[in-house]
């Protein structure tokens, strides 16, 4: 009977190990979500990270209510980073603040939550809440200049940066990786060259990303003078992605039965025709999955990007601008500000992205397998 007991024990230990694995995952996810969830809302996804100040021009209105002001906005004093500021609590329906414009004529409607620091040349902080409206209403001008500070704490710039880096790295790495894989599986004879290429891709896969960062920083940033930029980051990442894409594509090309190739060649189709018409269509789902996996890798990368794309949290105007991806930002806020909540909020978004990517690749595999 001792065998039965031993077996039971082992089942127990095995079950326990799996429970630990799943438990760890739940713990990590739980930690991240619980800490991050309260920060996440639509504003979080659509706002800038840094607060932004603008001087806007607002036409005054005449028929404001007795307890209101010429601008049609209701202000309250609030504390923010150790200072007292007036915050827009609500905006009247017909308020001209809704049609505020910045210099240059662009619209910049005042929103609830904005800080109003100055109206005309008056610093509002110098006045008590009871004085504020009369100060504003006492001004003569038809058109007032208002200093509006819109708080940040959003991740829009990081979302944009992440997307841009994904796009550029894929644009570079996909053709190279996929074509390279086609060569390796469809053309290469099992000679020295293939061995070297294979060794190279395997080595690439094993190099820690900090080394890529080291290389990217000196090569792209300093030597090629791309500076800390989306471009430097994306190019560094494309090298990181190469082995992922090559290997995955090779796998899916190899999964195409040889009988298809032979069938096509036997009909007198050329090699290229065979690849284009029979091999690639059958490998496409695997290749798409490879691409999705590499998106996951980009989203998760930090060390290499920190040294090449920098940490700026602005929406990049060109690929030569520096920009932080979500993950890089999660790192910097955790590290510099010790802001675990913000890091977790960004982490939540990242984990959700990874979940979506995982599900997507599952779905693609399922759908393609079914259609066959």
């Amino acid at each position: 009977m001792s065998r039965a007991i031993k077996d039971k024990l082992m089942y127990g230990i095995i079950g326990l190990s799996s429970a630990v694995t799943v438990g760890l995952l739940l713990w990590i996810i739980g930690f991240v979500f619980l800490n991050g969830f309260k920060l996440i809302d639509l504003d979080f996804l659509t706002s800038d990270f840094d607060s932004k100040t603008q001087y806007v021009s607002v036409k005054t209105m005449e028929d404001y209510s007795t307890d209101g002001n010429k601008l049609g906005i209701n202000l309250e004093l609030e504390e923010y980073e150790g200072n007292q500021y007036y915050v827009v609590k609500s905006i009247d329906d017909g308020s001209p603040a809704r049609f505020a414009i910045v210099k240059g004529g662009e619209k910049y409607p005042v929103k609830v939550g904005d800080f109003i620091k100055k109206v005309g040349s008056e610093n509002l902080e110098n006045y008590s809440p009871s004085e504020v409206n009369s100060i504003i209403n006492g001004m003569e001008e038809d058109i007032m200049t208002v200093k509006v500070t819109r708080p940040g704490e959003g991740i829009l710039p990081m979302l944009v940066t992440t997307l841009e880096i994904i796009l550029i790295s894929l644009l570079v790495a996909c053709p190279i990786g996929i074509f390279g894989a086609i060569y390796l599986t469809e053309y290469a004879k099992q000679g020295r060259l293939v061995k070297i290429i294979r060794f190279a891709t395997e080595s690439l896969a094993g190099i820690p990303s900090i080394i890529y960062g080291l290389f990217g920083m000196i090569f792209f940033v300093t030597l090629l003078k791309f500076d800390y930029s989306i471009l430097s980051g994306a190019l560094t990442l494309s090298i990181i992605l190469l082995p992922v894409i090559i290997r995955q594509t090779e796998e899916s090309l190899k999964a195409v039965p040889d009988s298809y190739r032979e069938g096509s060649l036997g009909l007198g189709a050329t090699k290229l025709q065979t690849i284009r018409k029979v091999v690639l269509p059958n490998a496409i789902s695997g290749i798409i999955v490879a691409v999705i996996l590499s998106i996951g890798r980009i989203v998760g990368e930090s060390a290499a990007l920190l040294l090449t794309a920098g940490t700026v949290a602005h929406i990049p105007k060109t690929v030569f601008n520096s920009g932080a991806t979500l993950t890089v930002k999660a790192y910097t806020v955790a590290k510099e500000a010790g802001d675990i909540e913000m890091a977790c909020a960004i982490g939540t978004v990242v984990i959700i992205m990874i979940l979506i990517l995982n599900a997507l690749s599952k779905m693609i595999t399922l759908v393609f397998n079914k259609s066959e």
Partner: protein
């Protein structure tokens, strides 16, 4: 569309004090994390005044900023210390943006209220290792310092006089914020940060009986202070970057410096 609502462009511009002519471009700044809060606030205001300009600030430590300015990786570098001899040879233009104190901080629960400069030194070089040796509870001191390229560390080591003698095993935290959170999270830790980073999660200690306040720095009673520098290579300078520097040194800019907890340069 409400054409009636649109004020004339010139009015909007002219209502703004000292608005420079239409500037465009990107001003890239990198460097000290101590200067970061000041720098970001200056950038925000500058961008409000010049909607065509983008100013970016990357806090990577003083040495990084100086080196990036030299390489042109970013146009302007900031440092929270004076340039070192070697850096001086690079031909950088430098300007003192502000002054700042460095506060020695401990956990709010720590019983110790103040240290002498010698004690601070002894703690950082590892001669004093227990809080009881400086009047606290009997527990090992967890020493937190900054990374090697930090201007704060450079200035702190110079002022407290233990250059290149930091004790083994001291925790190294990257950036002021990181030191502050590490100390805030550890009842036995001691660290040092820029004045601009002090908040209620940590307790600033008196040094030689003097409280770390702006007033005490201005009156030179509190000795642990250093300048905030901006540096650049003239050949990299753009119109917008020059305008930013000018703005930072203008009275408005200096008000912002003060608002963020540093000390005006002039």
């Amino acid at each position: 569309e409400e054409p009636a609502e649109a004020p004339a462009e010139t009015e909007a511009a002219s209502s703004e004090p000292d608005a420079p002519a239409e500037l465009t471009g990107t001003v890239t700044i990198s460097g000290s994390t101590s200067v970061e809060k000041v720098g970001v606030a200056l950038a925000e205001e500058f961008m409000a005044l010049n909607s065509g300009v983008e100013v970016t600030y990357q806090g990577i430590g003083s040495s990084g900023g100086v080196k990036n300015a030299k390489d042109g990786t970013t146009i302007i570098g900031t440092a929270s210390r004076n340039l070192k001899t070697e850096e001086k040879e690079w031909g950088l233009t430098e300007i003192e943006l502000a002054y700042d104190g460095i506060a020695v901080i401990a956990h709010p629960d720590n019983g110790v209220e103040g240290l002498t400069m010698d004690q601070v030194k002894a703690i950082y070089i590892g001669e004093i290792t227990n809080w009881s040796q400086v009047g606290g509870a009997d527990a090992e001191i967890v020493v937190v310092s900054r990374e090697d390229g930090s201007g704060t560390r450079g200035a702190f080591e110079e002022i407290v006089d233990f250059e290149d003698a930091l004790k083994e095993g001291a925790l190294i935290a990257e950036g002021n914020g990181n030191v502050q959170t590490t100390v805030a999270g550890n009842p036995l830790a001691i660290g040092y940060v820029s004045f601009t980073y002090i908040n209620e999660t940590v307790k600033p200690l008196l040094v030689d009986g003097v409280a770390p306040t702006v007033e005490n720095v201005v009156s030179k009673e509190y000795g642990v202070s250093r300048p905030f520098m901006m540096v650049w290579m003239e050949e990299n300078m753009t119109e917008a970057s020059q305008a930013f520097v000018d703005f930072a040194m203008s009275p408005e800019g200096q008000d912002i410096v003060e608002e963020k907890g540093a000390i005006k340069a002039k």
